[in-house]
Symmetry: C2
Subunit: 166 residues, 2 copies
Amino acid sequence: MKPDDSKTVYDGKLIDVVVERWGDHEREIVDHPGAVAIVAVDSEGMLTLVRQRREAVRVELLELPAGTLEAGEAPLDCARRELEEETGLTGGSWREAATFYTTPGFCRERMHLFFAEELERGEASPESDEELEVVRWPTSEIAANVAAIEDAKTIAGLLLYLQKVG
Amino acid sequence: MKPDDSKTVYDGKLIDVVVERWGDHEREIVDHPGAVAIVAVDSEGMLTLVRQRREAVRVELLELPAGTLEAGEAPLDCARRELEEETGLTGGSWREAATFYTTPGFCRERMHLFFAEELERGEASPESDEELEVVRWPTSEIAANVAAIEDAKTIAGLLLYLQKVG
């Protein structure tokens, strides 16, 4: 599956935009390095989420800890790094639970979802442009609370987690 | 919540890219008109999905019927239009089940998820740049089959549907 023609129309820091010609139509496509998200449960059985100001959409959202892959970085390494930075959680037992595309109609972002359990609590060290509030839920309250979530990866990740442990 | 400065760096057909300055950092943001997706169940209790070639990510994906909002279009009108075009399904009983952001870290796309039941089958009329294959599953098989899905909105939508009817 290859386009007949491709040109980069925007070359940015996080994303690029390419316009590809496929037969008789053109596609505008956002190029993205990929990402990770983590359903993080500590050794006391508490799920850890992060609430943050999402400037792109002008609201605060409660989400799974997540982050963008750096060049050449393995998804699991990225996930452990982002989780520790955002929440201080370390250690634990990890597995890659799913991979999915976030918006396959116009963007190449592919997300690796991890389930991490038996995590140990420590100090968070968020990056300077991140203001994060750590929020903890007992895992028994996920099903009742998921209706308040407004982020697609978080809804998908939490319900996949419930399906696999439930 | 307002940026200190904003400039459009790419002005496209479906999407724009803006770079916003927020205090000491800049954000690259994809502007997008918003979208709809539908968990569509017909009067025989069959879920309807669409399999399509997703050129952006170079694979075929099985997804909820979905589409992009046109200027000024109400989400429900868009959802009924897209569902009929892609699958031929009409009528039925509809409700808006959730709204969520698909990728709030860098894109404004907000998705309206509908549950439509008791739909009537008819002829599909896809747009010329869409090659769609309609796939039907008994709703009783959703839980077992969802692990094969690689699209975030479809995982979220199907598991929310199971949670609300189950």
